[in-house]
Symmetry: none
Subunit: 197 residues, 4 copies
Amino acid sequence: METALDALLAPSGTGLRADARRNVERLVAAARAALDEVGLDVTTRDVARRAGVGLGTLYRRLPSLDALLAAILADTIDEMTELAVRARGADDAWTGFAAFAEDFVQLRASSCGLHAALGGGGGPEVEPRVERLREAVRELVRHVQASGAIRPDVDSQDVAFVLATAIPPDHTLGMAARPDQWRRNLAIVLDGLRAQA
Amino acid sequence: METALDALLAPSGTGLRADARRNVERLVAAARAALDEVGLDVTTRDVARRAGVGLGTLYRRLPSLDALLAAILADTIDEMTELAVRARGADDAWTGFAAFAEDFVQLRASSCGLHAALGGGGGPEVEPRVERLREAVRELVRHVQASGAIRPDVDSQDVAFVLATAIPPDHTLGMAARPDQWRRNLAIVLDGLRAQA
Amino acid sequence: METALDALLAPSGTGLRADARRNVERLVAAARAALDEVGLDVTTRDVARRAGVGLGTLYRRLPSLDALLAAILADTIDEMTELAVRARGADDAWTGFAAFAEDFVQLRASSCGLHAALGGGGGPEVEPRVERLREAVRELVRHVQASGAIRPDVDSQDVAFVLATAIPPDHTLGMAARPDQWRRNLAIVLDGLRAQA
Amino acid sequence: METALDALLAPSGTGLRADARRNVERLVAAARAALDEVGLDVTTRDVARRAGVGLGTLYRRLPSLDALLAAILADTIDEMTELAVRARGADDAWTGFAAFAEDFVQLRASSCGLHAALGGGGGPEVEPRVERLREAVRELVRHVQASGAIRPDVDSQDVAFVLATAIPPDHTLGMAARPDQWRRNLAIVLDGLRAQA
DNA sequence: TATGAATGAGTTTTCATTCAT
DNA sequence: TATGAATGAAAACTCATTCAT
């Protein structure tokens, strides 16, 4: 499947010289890192500096920084959708669901930018992808619930909202998150979702 | 107890004309709403527009928008601390804890701005208050755990991070949150925190 | 002669109540003081505060603060002109000239605002008055020179420029001006202007 | 000696592109002109317009307009100090002093901005330099007075204040200064300072 | 009438985007 | 082609002036 990034970079991506291709890759990596660390209000200068290229190079390869961020978010959402679809094929329904939840979190689902994108502020690029993800999560939850592993009194929307907030921030109440804080958080949430044995 | 907002507005708040008082109240309400919806990087123009006043009015009453936001956040944090302290006095430890969690969520604990403030971006006004809240939550969790109501394998930091993320956004995956979505979310999380019967 | 201030205040000055008249006088005095201490960029709020009245009162009595400052400057210039004219009637030409120079300085001729006004930035209100002052100074210098008291190699323009800069600032090179610094300054300048005995 | 301007522009001044260097020079020249004509409260927009560059260019090269103005004033003051020190080495004390006075004036000592800076409104950058200048002038005057060339009844403070005001404005009383007006002014003042032969 | 609250144009500064080198 | 210099729209904040109380 063509990714949003492919589509974004296609115009200049066909017969790209080696150094040019390297610059594009650096820019994408720098934008991902900046998105995680700084959030959506990262500056173009910051991304260019992280990539080790000039501002002009950024604009030669990309229509705008916002377009790049949107493409990154879009692809992350597509990846989540793919995970949700695959999770339905797991031998054990609950194990598959729990693995999906872990992957979802590891995709840094609640990174500042993605959180906003999932919440509806993603623009025309991400909107349809969010819808596909919603349907995939809905199907997954139906599937797992049919197996009796998820409490019957929660629905796919509950699961979506619980997962949407399941990733802890780096700091809260002045405490730094442990490296495995997200896993501890998720364990609690999954325990709350699981049907009583 | 004098609140941070009282302290901020005190200089001009004593013998205020009716229209002036109304504008101050509108500004505070507008800033609260903007904090929830937009977060800490809301603009002065946005707050003034929401309040239905001019830019100058905002600055007549307030040293700066940041000062107002900090005062609002500080008071919200103080309120949370107060709730945590009171929760320890409940007859049933778990009931008291669950009530605290509900109140915490209803204070819109995960509003964009408060989220950042609790995460450490609150400035000198809120920092010490965050510490007091952390201690109050720690004490509350110790108390509830001593009663055996919370799973023994979670600690106060886990609780803090779980609560910090317990409030669902207005929208996710293109779905609007139901009016009671926060309560449904919380029920799942609390179930995950509660010790097995 | 009707002064610029009279003209400015005439519309509201006819049948003014005692308290209203007192407020006008206070405003004029406050503006004079502020002009001396702060200069032309004094604020309306400052003048109103010094006068002990509200901002509304200032605007009820005056078209604008700038108009008041211009009127004050205009009257000061007129007063200088009057002094120059009278100086020509002195028994001793040099004594009359020196006395004029002292009065000129004591009118705080180089106060920030007046300096600018004399230099040409005074607007349509002061321009013609500056011309009258120039002619009066020119006549005075011709008169004194005819008596042989002023060096023959200086002309009225030289005198004007020397006097325009003859008033020392409050501070220079980190030193505070003595109370009689202006008199010491002037003595040196006058010595330079006087014909050798 | 490294000047304050060098220090200010050093970070970006080393390997500057031709157009960038030209813009920096234009900005410095524009700021100098604006300081002379308008004074310390010149606007960034005015300086940028005079330099023929955009607002952003000003901020790319400079931390702030105030920093540039302070550096310009600081360097001018340092130059004056240097002149005062050198003047003490002249063969003839009075000739050296008169030459210093001419140079002092040619440095546009009474330009609106420098006037304010010497008067104490220069900020932390210029304050210590003003003190050095004061000491240099004091030493120079002592030296010249020891030679008997300056009237014994004036002291270094008198000289400072006289020189501080010795430069005529471009216009006064509606008359434009002649090109050599400053020299005519200074001649009168020096005559007033010189001891009788 | 007197007050000072409200307004918004203007100022400093930042940053996405374009363009000369 | 890559660079970073230049631009100007946008944001916080001030202050002259108007207007409700």
